[in-house]
């Protein structure tokens, strides 16, 4: 019969439905919707009335929906960069330890399924939810833009937004994997939640201060700049911020500063998508690598761990 579903997809389905029906997910989605709508709405109001307030050029209007802000609300990319990790952590922090506590872990893996289905389905389920959420959100913003602006986005703009959304998914998946790893390491879900949040807080708030502090110790400005940049790039938050800013702002031509000599003779134009991506290719690779390494660690930990707490 055709309605035999492969056990792995049965498990992924269950993960998704558990996530979607959980209160914490609903609350986070509501929070994200509320803040981003506010941010987008104020930008749209400005675009409609005085587009010149945003920038001298009116090209790439759709990208400005994501990167610009007015009033006190931060722009869309900052909000997503801030709240996205929370979604990832919320989906992952009790993935394994709560099932262990509830006594469902040993019951499920005593079914005729390979052991890694369990951890893989946790990741796939979480990732599916994240991808749906991020793309729904991104396309909603585009749709809202079309209604308000009345012009369709250029193809290049659309591609940039899609790449941005994919990278956002990878970024949130990193935090999902971090949460899952902690859920294996710690038997208490509160411990794993707090540890994951501590890391998130460290990178969002304190890490840049720390980097600044270290960089200030260098006398030469150039050395300080190099040090601060390379240290900053250890932080996934910084990576995400850097690469999304560059992807969504085609006029940025370099990650560091450019000297006047380098600038001389350059046309004051924007970069094509391919060139922008080339510029942040190391960031993209690093982000994907961090996500995969995190998943690898959780996979190995789970496969090695005794089913029974001893």
């Amino acid at each position: 019969m055709s309605d035999i579903v492969k056990p792995f997809w049965v498990m992924v389905n269950k993960e998704i439905s558990d996530h979607v029906r959980s209160w914490r997910f609903i609350i986070l989605v509501a929070l994200i919707l509320l803040t981003t709508t506010g941010s987008i709405y104020t930008v749209l109001a400005v675009i409609q009335q005085h587009p010149a307030q945003l920038s001298a050029h009116t090209d790439f209007l759709y990208l400005k929906l994501f990167t610009k802000s007015t009033n006190n609300l931060p722009p869309f990319i900052t909000l997503i960069g801030f709240l996205g990790p929370l979604v990832g952590i919320a989906l992952g922090f009790d993935a394994v330890n709560s099932e262990r506590d509830n006594g469902t872990l040993s019951r499920v893996i005593s079914q005729p399924i390979p052991r890694d289905y369990f951890i893989n389905s946790k990741f796939m389920g979480g990732l599916t939810v994240i991808v749906s959420l991020v793309f729904a959100l991104g396309f909603l913003v585009l749709g809202l833009g079309i209604i308000y602006i009345g012009l369709p986005p250029a193809f290049d703009e659309f591609l940039r937004v899609v790449v941005f959304l994919i990278l956002t998914c990878i970024y949130i998946a990193f935090w999902l994997n971090l949460g899952i790893t902690f859920s294996i390491l710690f038997r208490q879900s509160s411990t794993s939640a707090l540890s994951a949040l501590a890391i998130w807080l460290f990178f969002t708030v304190f890490y840049s201060m720390l980097v600044q502090f270290v960089a200030n110790a260098f006398y030469y400005r150039r050395a300080a700049q190099v040090i601060s940049q390379s240290l900053s790039r250890i932080s996934p938050n910084y990576l995400f911020h850097e690469l999304t800013t560059i992807l969504l702002t085609p006029s940025i031509r370099s990650l560091g500063g450019l000297s006047f000599r380098q600038m001389s003779g350059a046309l004051p134009s924007t970069l094509p998508l391919g060139q922008s991506m080339l510029l942040v290719w190391p960031d993209i690779t690093a982000l994907i690598a961090a996500t995969l390494v995190c998943f690898g660690i959780s996979y190995v930990l789970f496969m090695k761990q005794e089913i029974r707490a001893s």
Partner: protein
């Protein structure tokens, strides 16, 4: 006679410092109910987890119906239903949904799964509760749902880890009867572990006593008792009225009766089972009335205590 369906050969499992299972050998035959008995921490759960391929043995192997649990766990898990001691279900789903989920993990199509889940819920007396969320279930209900969960894959072997834990006494009997009937109807092999000895001795065909990772004895409960206490004196209690010194004197003169003590209306003494007729005769001859004469039956409790307190030295 079929060969054993579960064969445990020289199984060893070490955790960091301690040995949970120590060179264990055990055969379980098809269709029997085998009770694995021992105190907490004796290694019962470890044996079960190794059998299902959920825990890798340090050395030795477990064969289930010809499949090595360590290298072919999927084949073993296909034919084995496991009820963990701390069984739980996802609380926000109903009992029925939980059963259907397990069935689908076993490759059963959804429609069939719903059908058999409903049958099983009726069997374990959860027909109405099956449509309620499992977080509202009592421990006994969870345990019964666990049994249905084990049954839904139609296993050849049922492995039940401490199935009676947390159920009230009346529920325990019903639950054990259910297990026994299922096993006999379907010819299923049942391996159950417990530390509550007298509860499971009723339904087990054979038992094995496990202390500190070693199997101290195995066999039928009666055989074990005979083997251990056959030659020994048992304690005999007689309810007699009136108790006179002459009666005590007369009893003590009989051969095979020792340590006679009169206490109120009860006389306790020690002796072989064969002396019971002699005792009753003596009492009647001394013009006393005999209301009750009983000798102590050795059950698992005594066997267990014998091993556990006496250790292995005197066996």
């Amino acid at each position: 006679m079929d060969g054993p369906i579960i064969q445990i050969n020289d199984l060893v499992k070490n955790y960091d410092t301690n040995t949970a299972v120590d060179h264990l050998n055990l055969d379980i035959r098809k269709g029997e109910i085998f009770g694995l008995l021992g105190p907490n921490g004796a290694g019962k759960t470890t044996i079960i987890l190794s059998m299902l391929g959920l825990s890798e043995p340090t050395s030795g192997m477990v064969m289930v119906k010809g499949h090595d649990s360590t290298t072919e766990p999927l084949k073993v898990k296909k034919i084995t239903g496991y009820l963990p001691d701390d069984v739980g279900f996802s609380g926000n789903s109903t009992g029925l949904e939980n059963l259907v989920y397990t069935a689908m993990l076993n490759g059963i199509p959804r429609n069939e799964a719903i059908e058999s889940a409903e049958e099983l819920l009726e069997m374990v007396d959860l027909k109405e509760a099956g449509h309620k969320k499992t977080k509202t279930y009592s421990k006994g209900m969870t345990q019964r749902l666990g049994l249905a969960d084990v049954m839904i894959k139609d296993p050849e072997i049922m492995v039940l880890d401490e199935p009676t834990i947390g159920i009230d006494p009346k529920g325990i009997n019903e639950f054990l009867d259910l297990i026994r009937n299922l096993s006999k109807e379907k010819g299923m092999t049942v391996l159950l572990s417990s530390h509550l000895l007298h509860q499971v001795q009723k339904i087990c065909d054979r038992v094995g006593i496990l202390v500190e990772g070693k199997l101290l004895a195995q066999g039928k409960v009666d055989d074990l008792a005979n083997e251990l206490f056959g030659g020994k004196d048992t304690s005999i209690t007689a309810e007699v009225s009136p108790i006179t010194d002459e009666l005590i004197q007369a009893l003590s003169e009989k051969e095979g009766i020792k340590e006679i003590q009169g206490n109120g209306e009860v006389i306790t003494m020690k002796g072989n089972r064969d002396v019971a007729p002699v005792i009753s005769q003596t009492i009647v001859q001394n013009n006393a009335k005999l209301y009750r004469l009983s000798y102590k039956e050795y059950g698992l409790d005594e066997i267990y205590q014998h091993y556990f307190e006496g250790g292995t030295t005197d066996v």
